[in-house]
Subunit: 230 residues, 2 copies
Amino acid sequence: MARPETRRSEGQERGAGLERIRDAAIELFGRHGVKGTSLKAIAEHAGVSPALIVHHYGSKDGLRVACDQHVAESLLAIKTDAVRQGPQLDPVGMMGQLVEYRPMMRYLAKTLVDGSPHVNDLVDQIVKHAEQYTEDGVSAGLIKPSAHPRARVVVLVLFSLGTLVLHQHLKRLLGVDLVEGDGPPAAYLQAVMEIYSEGVFTPGTYENLRSYVEQLGEESDAKGGNDERD
Amino acid sequence: MARPETRRSEGQERGAGLERIRDAAIELFGRHGVKGTSLKAIAEHAGVSPALIVHHYGSKDGLRVACDQHVAESLLAIKTDAVRQGPQLDPVGMMGQLVEYRPMMRYLAKTLVDGSPHVNDLVDQIVKHAEQYTEDGVSAGLIKPSAHPRARVVVLVLFSLGTLVLHQHLKRLLGVDLVEGDGPPAAYLQAVMEIYSEGVFTPGTYENLRSYVEQLGEESDAKGGNDERD
DNA sequence: CAGTATGCTGAATGGACGTTCAGTTAGGGG
DNA sequence: CCCCTAACTGAACGTCCATTCAGCATACTG
């Protein structure tokens, strides 16, 4: 090779590596999973050499941690930020509509399952946030009070995150894409809203199940295997 | 059926390989994911050599397909089988309590995300099953009728599968383990039941959101294209 | 008993991967 | 200008992995 004045072939500048690498990693980790993505692939996607990634992040795992942190911070920032979505029916479900955050949503959907500390922190804070949000809703008379407030919030958040994780199935079964769709996932939101508004069981069923479930509660109390958190 | 008494090194019998290998694979795939499990590890866990796995299943992917099939068939069998659990509040959530199926639950929880044809089929059939089950419930007056029956069923199934997939988080946040727990996941079931019985939103909120969500439905029907929201 | 199919293995192969390293290029401050 | 630092690379290394292969041992068949 001759010695060109600018060695970067196409518009690539020196020093833009760190973020570019991290974003490429989030993109590919989100699409093919961490184990399914090689440093070489990330390097190509970012227009750098594999060695540079290690130089910057120490190791593949170091890069993964950096991605975790960045995704957690970013998503938490816009969550805390504002109620950007009108009524926040299903915050997590709606967030995929914000185009800029789609790669992070994909990343979340993939990494929520193999559990890293930072992603766990993110989930914890989403729950915490939802707890506050729910309490406010109860005070404002928008949300019904609950006999098990914390458990309800946790379950609601996991419902929401769960459908995000399983968005491929939602797409296949309902034709609604939480991550790639170009509009609000209407059919999904309609169903969710109906469930959360009207419930699913009839009042009679409620009464029948109540005794059964309360009995469960007593059993597990007797066993003493339940620890309250925070 | 009588097996000859050939002693292998340590209690291992000849010819017991196929199932033993497949079960070991389900166990390890479920614990560490498919990409995170080597044939060597499976071989050791099954007490055979890696070569034998390939001999039987052709390739790692062949083994994976066999696992998919077996898990799908088994779980579908007991689902179709009977209502073994008293009131089937959350069939998927409760199924992990059946000790014999725990490895399969773990396997499901891991592989639901990276989507294989057989697992997709399984999900489809669970939905189909739930659709029937729900219709019956409606007829019997136990379950409220829905304006979007199919969407509601899909969402309910994905809620259930979603919490299964995220069972580690449920464990961390609520101390309830859907897969390893030794009793019914009481706190989880209580919350689920409350949500499904009473709903979450107050009637007033319902009315407010109704117009919003129905508007979504119209938009997606008309499909105008870009929607900018502040 | 001979022959063959089958369960099974150890060793070898080739490729992919994460990581290391020596060295090159550019930039900025003295 | 020189030197220091930091970005960056190609090549090499060692490891792990899925897969192949030749061959052994056992069981079945005629």
